[in-house]
């Protein structure tokens, strides 16, 4: 098994009248780690899907291993040894690693002789740079191990060219470093060519040999990482120089406690342990960041604070009084929530932008008293103000919010949730899936709210984001807050150890 190179020339792809790719070329040398960079919607996924036969390019040609190749369906890519590891896991959770591997093969016999298959798999595993347990259901593996299993699966399928889509988004810093190091080793030993789709420039600098950058469906640049620093890459990605300005932190946290969680427990959900948080406080003008590997109770914590999940015992106090997350209490105590994936969790996709901007306020008039009739003119007027203030780009205020781009949906939710006096703001993965500018804007808004005196609880899987925004960091593992520390001078490696549950 040896690495193969892939070259794409002049790839064009249209969806209806939307030009997803125009005249894009990419050259991936055999045995290299190639970074494919670009903002959301730049066409990265479309390009690799054309390579792998999920889409057919309208124009352009492909060279695989220096030979012209026609890839019309995934089976063609498969036969050429091209494969992909998706961002979302594609393993069957209830089946063991061995079963998942055998099942993925093209020529699975009607009756499987598990004894000989097992022996063959053991033999195969001995040659692997990383070990995964063969006879454990993949559902019980940690995220890092599942990611490794996905890669092992591709190697088992004898891929010589592998695309990894945002491979480290679910890993701790240690796991990410380890995984990318191993991948790099495989590539440089000439077994495999790797394309990594990513937006983490630190990883690019550390593990990638060459990059191709796309912008709005066009080729924006390429070259060796030795000559391209983060500033040049960012400029290529967004088309202009962009200084990643850190939002300014003004003033010290006050002594006034806004959110206090004590001895909080929730019921276990399926195989996952429930929450068990001894103490967590957020003060006014303070951002407390919750770090943790995905699936360690962060989602449950947001659901409890957002009123989507009941608590079993313990207390949640807001402003010193018990809080039940009902609409009355949320309105009276000015508690707001920025959920992750705002379109799925915080908006009604079929309702208009105006309606969605009014979700917090439709049943109250300016004086805060309940109203039975909708104030349609008032709703439209407030929506116009918010659209102007937050630069929301929508085809019409009466368009359903579902047709807006991710960044504009996020702006709508920010406008709605940060409207007026906000005492406590709960934020979950606010920048997931946003482009560079929208990320900077969102973080600046959160910081501005903090500076104005809002207590912010920030739950994020992006450790860099937590380090950048937080005043204090709490680490969650297995439903518990296992460690708390001030953000100033915090060591990512140490946080990573706590994220994995090590002392």
């Amino acid at each position: 098994m040896s690495a193969i190179g892939v070259e794409a020339f002049g790839i064009c792809k249209r969806f209806g009248t939307f030009q997803a790719l125009s005249d894009v070329s990419m050259k991936v040398h055999p045995g290299s780690v190639h970074g494919l960079l670009g903002e959301n919607g730049a066409g990265k996924s479309t390009l690799v899907k054309c390579l792998l036969g999920y889409y057919r390019a309208d124009e352009g040609s492909l060279l695989v291993d220096s030979k012209e190749a026609v890839i019309e369906r995934p089976a063609d890519a498969d036969a050429l040894g091209l494969g992909m590891v998706y961002q979302h896991f594609t393993l069957v959770p209830s089946m063991t690693v061995a079963e998942n591997l055998v099942m993925a093969r093209r020529n699975v016999p009607g009756i499987i002789d598990w004894k000989s298959e097992s022996a063959a798999l053991e033999e195969f595993m001995r040659g692997m740079p990383f070990k995964v347990p063969l006879h454990v259901p993949t559902g019980s593996l940690a995220a890092g191990e599942r990611q490794k299993t996905e890669i092992v699966k591709q190697l088992y399928l004898r891929r010589q060219f592998l695309v990894l889509d945002e491979p480290t988004s679910v890993l701790t810093p240690q796991e990410a470093d380890e995984m990318l190091g191993l991948i790099r080793g495989l590539a440089h030993s000439g077994q495999l060519t790797i394309v990594i789709i990513t937006h983490k420039l630190k990883e690019v600098a550390k593990f990638v040999d060459e990059v191709t950058v796309l912008r709005r469906g066009r080729f924006a640049g390429a070259g060796s990482v030795r000559y391209l620093g983060p500033t040049e890459l960012t400029a290529m990605m967004i088309g202009e120089a962009h200084e990643p300005a850190e939002p300014e932190r003004l003033g010290e946290p006050s002594d006034e406690i806004q959110l206090q969680v004590r001895d909080l427990r929730t019921a276990a959900d399926g195989g996952r342990a429930g929450l068990s948080i001894a103490e967590l406080t957020v003060r006014a003008r303070e951002i407390v960041g919750i770090a943790g590997v995905s699936g360690n109770g962060q989602k449950t914590l947001v659901e409890v604070l957002g009123g989507q999940q009941p608590i079993e015992s313990g207390s949640v106090d807001v402003g010193g009084i018990p809080y039940d997350a009902s609409r009355e209490q949320a309105q009276a105590r000015h508690v707001r929530v920025l959920p992750e994936e705002p379109l799925r969790n915080g908006c009604v996709p079929n309702m208009t932008v105006v309606d969605n901007l009014a979700l917090r306020s439709f049943d109250r008039d300016a004086a805060g008293t309940q109203r039975g009739w909708l104030d349609l003119a008032g709703m439209a007027a407030r929506a116009r103000e918010m659209i102007a203030a937050y630069g929301i780009r929508a085809p019409s205020p009466q368009a359903p919010i579902g047709v807006l781009s991710g960044g504009n949906v996020q702006r709508c939710v920010l406008a709605r949730e940060l409207d007026g006096d906000v005492k406590l703001l709960i934020v979950a993965n606010p920048c997931f899936g946003l482009d560079v500018k929208a990320v900077a804007e969102t973080r600046a808004r959160i910081m501005a709210a903090r500076n104005a005196g809002t207590a912010v609880l920030l739950i994020s899987e992006d450790l860099d984001e937590i380090m950048e925004l937080s005043d204090r960091i709490a680490v969650m593992h297995g439903g518990q807050v296992v460690h708390q520390m001030p953000a100033a001078g915090a060591d990512p490696q140490e946080i990573g150890r706590h994220m994995l549950g090590h002392e």
Partner: protein, 353 residues
């Protein structure tokens, strides 16, 4: 940046999709007729004449449309909350039975007492019945479509059991019925027009429901809960109570339809009440995309189709079930037309980044 005609195009899309579905169903049905050696044009002509050709056929059409307006609301109101409730038939028959039985002690007091009692009893019974479905859904997570369907069978069985048992008038020999409310207490037709009295009630109910859904905070909260439960929970809206409330209100409409049918048509509760109004209401609500105002024309359309059934039977020798075949084709076409939305580029917003 802005796309001024987008809201208008969106409305047009919402009008065109069901229209195309109706045309597709008609085409399919034409094939069905041609296979049997019948002319689709004759069918269209006879349907038109049987449904809307004369004032007499209009009366016939409206008489059938009256209960349909209310049974469609029984699907559309929960539908706005994201629930597909298909058990309106039981709410109609049980509502009709409750209206009759509760009114019986008052028959001596005249229509001024009897009719309001009937309306209230019918609505209470229907609301209770569909509300039970909503409760099962909201509190116990039981699939509301299955629950309402199974409860419809149970409701019809209870209805038959009671009408043939404790509530039976021994004088009703061939067709077991309850005691009558008396001719003096019955609802007459509207003077001059000779139109079924359920029509103004049904239209008023549709308008009221439209106002409730699109103009009040409560309706807004309901639409949020129906559009995205997670978002509604995050806003602290009482999702479960809204769902149960919509079911109760929808059931009350269907129960009222049963009460009106008894008061205007039969004078007593018997198997005639189970005429499939609850099921046709499902079709109408989907055709109207759960918009109460759109229910009005759709109910008239389907009422007309039903009214033309007799004429078709006599002239073309087609069995009664032919109209049901067409109804079924329309329902399938409507459900399939949901995939039409967002497919045609021209209707989509322009200029957005």
């Amino acid at each position: 940046m802005s796309d001024a005609t987008y809201p208008a195009r969106r409305t047009l899309e919402a009008l065109l999709a069901p229209l195309l579905a109706l045309m597709a169903a008609s085409a399919l049905f034409s094939v069905f007729l041609l296979v049997q050696g019948q002319s689709p044009l004759d069918f269209l002509d006879l349907t038109w004449r049987g449904a809307f050709g004369s004032w007499f056929s209009w009366q016939n059409t409206l008489q059938r449309a009256a209960p349909l307006l209310l049974t469609a609301l029984c699907v559309a109101l929960p539908g706005q909350l994201g629930l597909v409730v298909i058990g309106g038939e039981a709410a109609v028959v049980l509502g009709g039975l409750a209206a009759t039985v509760v009114a019986l002690p008052f028959v001596q007091m005249g229509p001024v007492i009897v009719l309001p009692v009937m309306a209230l009893a019918g609505m209470a019974m229907g609301g209770l019945w569909i509300g039970l479905t909503g409760y099962l859904r909201a509190r116990l997570g039981v699939n509301e479509t299955i629950a309402s369907l199974v409860l419809a069978y149970i409701g019809l069985a209870i209805f038959n059991h009671l009408v043939e048992g404790v509530f039976r008038d021994p004088a009703s020999l061939n067709k077991p019925s309850t005691y009558g409310i008396g001719d003096d207490n019955m609802l007459g037709s509207i003077p001059f027009l000779e139109v079924h009295p359920g029509i103004p009630v049904g239209i008023a109910a549709c308008i009221l429901c439209w106002v409730l859904i699109y103009r009040t905070s409560l309706g807004f909260a309901g639409r949020v809960a129906g559009g995205n439960t997670k978002a509604a929970q995050l806003q602290g809206l009482p999702v479960a109570r809204l769902a149960v409330g919509a079911c109760v209100l929808g059931g009350a409409c269907a129960g009222l339809a049963g009460g009106i049918e008894v008061a205007a048509e039969y004078g007593r509760a018997n198997a005639s009440l189970a005429a499939g109004y609850g099921y046709t209401g499902i079709l109408i609500a989907f055709l109207a995309r759960f918009n109460p105002l759109a229910i009005v024309p759709m109910a008239v359309l389907l009422g007309g189709l039903g009214a033309a059934g007799g004429l078709l039977q006599r002239r073309m020798g087609l069995p009664d079930a032919t109209v049901q075949v067409l109804q079924g084709m329309i329902l399938v076409a409507i459900l399939a037309s949901e995939t039409f939305y967002g497919r045609v580029r021209w209707f989509q917003p322009r200029g957005a980044a």
